[in-house]
Symmetry: C2
Subunit: 167 residues, 2 copies
């Protein structure tokens, strides 16, 4: 993987999408590596990441966001609770619900594992002027929004085609 698809023969826009795809592939591989080095399963780690971003949410919401079945969430939360990364909290207003509260602020392991990437990204950021960084940040936000819309679209269309043939 020496060249990151920076094929100069492509027109700028196609080159851009190609680069974005390469970034996506590496993002996924990196995430899998981080999860493995922490001794976590991928979905467990992704769930922690979602919880970090959203704060405490119910088991059902986590099921929707991850796309996992509710039964899978139960055992996933069991695992995370056992190692102290989250805890279950009852909702006083609706006693059916279980709120999952992230508890890994104290856990240094996750922060330590992410620290090298964080530093490297800060270092990358510092190589740009404030104006450039503002543009890049604005772009990342837009790209996130695009992805979020795509996820919505995909998960809605997938649910309708229940007549899967092979596999």
């Amino acid at each position: 993987m020496s060249s990151h698809q920076d094929d100069p023969t492509l027109d700028p826009q196609e080159q851009f999408t190609s680069l974005m795809r390469g970034l996506g592939t590496r993002t996924i591989l990196h995430q899998q590596n981080v999860a493995a080095s922490l001794g976590l399963y991928n979905n467990d780690f992704i769930s922690l990441d979602i919880l970090r971003e959203t704060g405490p949410i119910t088991a059902g919401e986590l099921s929707k966001k991850t796309g996992l079945a509710t039964g899978s969430i139960t055992s996933l939360v069991d695992r995370l609770e056992k190692i102290g990364y989250v805890r279950r909290q009852n909702d006083p207003n609706d006693r059916r619900r279980v709120i999952i509260v992230p508890e890994y602020e104290s856990k240094e392991e996750i922060r330590n594992t992410y620290e090298p990437l964080h530093k490297a990204m800060l270092n990358l950021a510092s190589s740009y002027t404030p104006e450039e960084l503002a543009l890049i940040s604005q772009f990342i936000g837009n790209a996130s929004t695009v992805l979020e819309e795509q996820i919505q679209h995909l998960s809605s269309t997938t649910r309708s085609k229940s007549s899967k043939t092979t596999r």
Copy 2:
């Protein structure tokens, strides 16, 4: 996930890393959705993506790049070969080796599934001036390099700590 961590109280650099992390989370969730909508397992789809980028590689190289055990690669390639996404080719110079050749150019399904994202990304690209897009593209390439280095670092340090306690 209404706000993409665009917390204005953070300093610009921390805001940037926060945005990058959000982009990563969404990238992973999107990838899982795409794989599911194609009826593929995550690692199968990731492997296709790697093959698309690298071209034909051996089973061992794919094992290294994905981090999967060689035994897993065997069944993974079995699955992909059965549905016609790849084929096995013998290396005439070294008859132990098995080269995995991507065959999904003809398969429209993958392209169709990625088409909406591709279009949306092209649309996003067109909202920037050529100079801005050049800066963004250059940044994405740098970010990819950073991630690649992190993956290298993680996979080398993980292999050494074979004394995993729990799980």
